[in-house]
């Protein structure tokens, strides 16, 4: 009993309640900060026109996705005379295309969805499925979500290794061989899980302390 009495001591109360409050504050903060992790960002990213002739000259970025993990690519094309196409390939297809240095246009991309944000459109109405996207022909900016496959606008998780490729042309003069575009690649981080763990810990600690304190007070005063 004496050992349990120490729960009511000021120092112990500060530690328990303090930890609970810190957990409840940290949960949402960590959730927001670690929700998405930027793994690559370049503004502008430069490739050459010959990226359309062989996949080895195209921009490529390797990503490994776990179950239920999402890949997000934000790509925009605002540069003069530049046109780029983005595809996401499975690593095996990319490797075989790379060995043969196939033209990126001849390689089939995997299914993803991209969103066009606006206040006038509903979320479902602003989302389009595709296996390749050309900028700025189709859109100037795209927020691409990818998990392996899709059913309509909803993604299906296929864990595995994937490669994001971008190739393009510059329609300027003969000397203009550089193709510019902005790209940010993100993946789902542990934010959601951490947020849930911290919130549950905080609530559990507060409940535990409250119940323990009531039981000890009653026991101390009436049942001894």
């Amino acid at each position: 009993m004496a050992r349990w009495d120490s729960i009511l001591k000021k120092k112990f109360a500060y530690i328990i309640i303090g930890t609970a409050v810190i957990s409840l504050i940290l949960g949402p903060i960590l959730g927001a900060v670690l929700n998405k992790i930027i793994i690559y960002e370049r503004k502008p990213q430069v490739i050459q026109e010959d990226s359309t002739l062989g996949i080895n000259k195209a921009f490529s970025f390797f990503v490994e996705l776990e179950k239920n993990q999402k890949l997000i690519v934000e790509i925009s094309e605002y540069y003069i005379n530049c046109t780029v196409t983005i595809k996401i390939l499975s690593n095996s297809i990319f490797q075989s295309a790379s060995l043969a240095n196939s033209t990126p246009g001849s390689v089939s991309g995997m299914e993803f969805v991209y969103s066009q944000f606006g206040w006038g459109t509903s979320p479902a109405g602003g989302t389009v499925g595709a296996s390749a996207l050309t900028l700025p022909t189709t859109v100037r900016y795209a927020y691409i979500e990818f998990m392996g496959s899709r059913n309509g606008d909803a993604l299906i998780s296929w864990p595995g290794e994937y490669v994001v490729i971008v190739y393009g042309t510059n329609s300027g003069g003969p000397g203009d061989i550089n193709v510019y575009f902005d790209i940010t690649i993100k993946i789902d981080g542990p934010g959601d899980t951490l947020s849930d763990i911290f919130m549950i810990l905080g609530v559990f600690l507060l409940l535990f302390y409250f119940i323990a304190a009531i039981v000890i007070i009653l026991k101390k005063n009436f049942f001894r």
Binding site: K70, S115, F117, P123, I144, E145, A154, N221, F222
Partner: protein, 157 residues
């Protein structure tokens, strides 16, 4: 042997002739009943307002999507998460409510014991003892009614 001594001592320790200790029982019982009663009401309020909270979250979610903070599949995920939390907000009333009911009843039993002790205390005047007995009876009645009948409620609006 130890157990029987403990159970006898528990009864013997009831403050039949100790006004101070009976008052302590009354105050602690009142406090416990108020704390658990408040928890019960908060829990009920959370459950009753779960749908309002859900509407608020869904509107925020849609606005976040429209601002381009996240994509369609994160929007769907957030909808599902909000729905799950709404269900939990409604279901917690069952868990917290039942625990709180036990707490309220324990508090009321403490109060009833205190009034019974006042009624049995021959050092107090006749009138006080009679009122205490009536109050103990009323509390016992409330405890019994709320324990055995769940459909009886007093609505104050």
């Amino acid at each position: 042997m130890g157990e029987s001594r403990e159970s006898i001592s528990l009864f013997e320790r009831l403050p039949f002739n100790d006004k101070e200790k009976a008052l302590k029982f009354l105050i602690y019982g009142l406090l416990v009943a108020i704390i658990f009663g408040t928890i019960l009401m908060i829990s009920k309020s959370i459950a009753d307002n779960a749908t309002t909270w859900q509407n608020l979250q869904n509107q925020q979610n849609e606005m976040n999507y429209k601002q381009g903070l996240y994509g369609y599949n994160d929007y769907i995920k957030q909808l599902e998460k909000t729905q799950l939390i709404t269900y939990w907000m409604q279901y917690q009333e069952v868990i917290v409510g039942n625990i709180a009911r036990i707490g309220v009843n324990v508090g009321l039993i403490f109060m009833m014991i205190a009034f019974v002790c006042f009624a049995l205390n021959d050092k107090l005047d006749e009138r006080t003892r009679r009122i205490s007995l009536i109050l103990a009876g009323v509390i016992l009645f409330v405890v019994m009614i709320t324990t055995f009948f769940s459909n009886i409620a007093i609505v104050i609006s």
